[in-house]
Symmetry: C2
Subunit: 431 residues, 2 copies
């Protein structure tokens, strides 16, 4: 019998408890071993809960779990940083294996936690931390074990994907789409963590650390949110054959560096990623042997995450039962450094407001040409006022050259405003 | 050290050999154990091979592998039924674990092989048998272990998906698309096995046997190929908002029976399955906890399949090293029976050729109405001859009632021909 301690009994924790109790027989048959929840840490023992939890299991003292020598596996579903980080470290120091869905802690303290786990000869499982029920960690660790991973693309945040989908399908503004997401419970009342792209940055740092075997410092990832996207950008993207998504990108760069970024991105409509709508998440991975694999599913929510956590519990239980040492342990061998966005080559979409006078476009074209930026297409919408919006799509160019071209544009009297600049992903790399 | 015997060194076998030798260090680091290919069965030792294979490993005598007491794992990549089935059974009787990508043998003799493996206390791994590099078996067995699987939808055959994609995108006929597929090596010179839907039937029987824990007899699956699909069907599907795909379906039916089928299917364009084009494969699974998961990748080809086989070899090696008994063994507990298509409710698309005279549509509508079939939409294309094509879409109706309606139609003098009947999948089940 494997004895388990649960930290937290909220939405995901309650879901995990519910699955482990209602599907007990089925799980034991598949595993060949009983899993027993011995104790559950809660804030308040007498609080009303969604699921009927055996009250005798509840405790308000984390030490009753972490210091119990019978408990071999601690499942952390409290979330947040404090006091969770302390609990996890203390549990590892007491030689407990860990299952967690805590992206914050893994992204910020992953290096420390995995080292501590190694020192204490225990393992840390984290399928639920990225992409909810999408089996992305297992796919990277096991199914793609024969592959060198070249790149990862992810739509990893359901809130922003819902907002962008609404803006695209219903032709509404960002603010209205955000309000709709909030009213449906898809966005928090303070949406900053999602809308700013930070949530995605945590997740791509976890995936990249695993896939490229190099710990990625989440603070050094370039992050841009979706709050500057306007309805006009989305309409023009459609017209040009693209869909705007908040894309998380992790790529090897010439085999010596890594290119990790999160930003709104023009995705060609021919790419299946452009069709992943609403609160769904998706990850597309390129391996040198298998080519492209894409996995899609519900990226968050109580039950999808609980499904991933239970799979981790089963994996951990198997590992404990059979004394498996080397859980395809990811070597963290390479100290691959991040490359700055300045060096990266992308096509760019640019939206300008200019004075509607003859010769203005020639000036813009010259500012680009002087900085080696070549224009792929231009859309000019005629309006009934002296100001005309211009939409440009460039050919691929290094970002630092693009920045110089933008600086030159800003010096032109007839360029009133540079409204938006969005990167275009062409998905045409050779591995 | 785990010693492995390879049966076959063709496209996939050569790919596996190549990965295991070129990535030897990486694989050993991840597994924590050396994997050694001890011997390789080939037809002809002196044949020229794509990869540089160590000639001292080659043998033309299968007994040198199957009877070698040092070899713990036999990797079968010969394909076909004879002599492969005999080799696999003999290897299991000699207590070898098996990795295979042989869908034919698993679908036809799976029950016997898994029983034999159980009796001999060895395991059979088969990720490469369905969907090439798509990690669908591991996802079903491990990642979705907390789930009761409600339904599986698969586009599981790259040849037919390529042909249908070409017909859709290029507006060409079946015969021309087939020729193009053959010229590119995506279709065999005798395309029967793919085009008839049989290949898909083997694959969905393997997936369903695993997901529903009931061995499915592949011969009792309803199978319909794509050779009757004409350009006109595809054009009308587009007009109605659908894409035609060869869909493999596995569903629980009222929790007591299973509904397993392979046939051309109208898929709404809003469903991501409709966007999976070309030689790509996709599987969409619904679990009661996690909701929908979709996995997509290259469904065939030397390297994607080799990637899956190497992942299985690693899994098997881990299992051997740590004496893992219960590989989440799938119980095969339920003896769920298949339900006949007559009982299944679908919407239907029907293409007719009728005499272009007043009142003909009223007669058709009556023939449907008399059999409880209600019409959802009608498209009538005007042509410059006395015959007019009519395209109908029905509301959902039991197939046996639909058949009666079709019989009534056939009795009408003005119905010249029933050109095609295609099922529509609405994807609106409640679990």
């Amino acid at each position: 019998m494997i004895k388990v301690g649960l930290l937290g009994c909220g939405t995901v924790g309650g879901g995990v408890y519910n699955i482990l109790t209602t599907k007990k027989e089925d799980i034991e048959r598949k595993l060949g071993e009983e899993i027993q929840i011995k104790r559950i840490l809660v804030n308040e023992k007498n609080k009303k809960r969604k699921y009927d939890v055996d009250a005798s299991l509840l405790t308000e003292n984390y030490k009753e779990i972490i210091e119990d020598p019978e408990i071999q596996l601690v499942v952390e579903l409290i979330g947040g940083e404090t006091p969770t980080l302390g609990y996890i470290k203390e549990a590892i120091n007491h030689h407990k294996n860990i299952v967690t869905a805590n992206k914050l802690i893994l992204a910020k303290y992953g290096r420390e936690i995995f080292q501590l786990a190694k020192n204490n000869n225990v393992k840390v499982y984290y399928e639920g931390s990225v992409g909810g029920g999408i089996p992305i960690i297992k796919t990277l660790k096991e199914s793609m074990i024969a592959n060198k991973i070249g790149r990862i693309y992810g739509i990893l945040n359901g809130t922003t994907n819902y907002i962008l989908t609404q803006m695209t399908e219903k032709s509404i503004d960002f603010e209205d789409a955000l309000k709709k997401a909030q009213s449906l419970g898809y966005a928090e009342s303070d949406p900053y963590f999602d809308v700013s792209g930070l949530d995605c940055a945590y997740k791509i740092s976890i995936l990249s650390s695993l896939a490229f075997e190099s710990f990625i410092d989440v603070n050094s990832i370039y992050v841009e949110g979706i709050d500057k996207i306007e309805r006009e950008d989305i309409e023009i993207a459609e017209e040009l054959g693209y869909t705007i998504k908040l894309l998380a990108i992790g790529k090897r760069y010439e085999d010596k560096m890594l290119d990790i970024r999160v930003h709104p991105t023009f995705i060609p409509k021919s790419n299946p990623l452009s069709k992943i709508n609403g609160v769904y998440n998706v990850v597309q991975i390129h391996g040198d042997v298998v080519g492209d694999i894409m996995i899609y599913g519900q990226g968050a929510g109580e039950m999808p995450t609980a499904s991933a956590v239970v799979a981790d519990i089963m994996e951990a239980a198997k590992s404990i039962k059979y004394h498996i040492e080397n859980e395809y342990s990811i070597g963290r061998l390479n100290g691959l450094k991040l490359i700055g966005t300045d060096e990266i080559e992308n096509s760019f979409y640019i939206r300008l407001r200019v004075n509607d006078i003859p010769g203005v476009f020639a000036k813009i074209a010259k500012a680009f040409g002087d900085n080696e930026v070549s224009i792929a297409s231009v859309i000019q919408k005629h309006r009934l006022n002296p100001v005309v919006p211009i939409f440009l799509l460039t050919h691929p160019i290094e970002e630092k050259k693009m920045k110089k071209a933008i600086d030159s544009l800003k010096e032109l009297d007839d360029v009133i405003e540079i409204k938006n600049i969005i990167r275009v992903e062409d998905f045409n790399e050779k591995f």
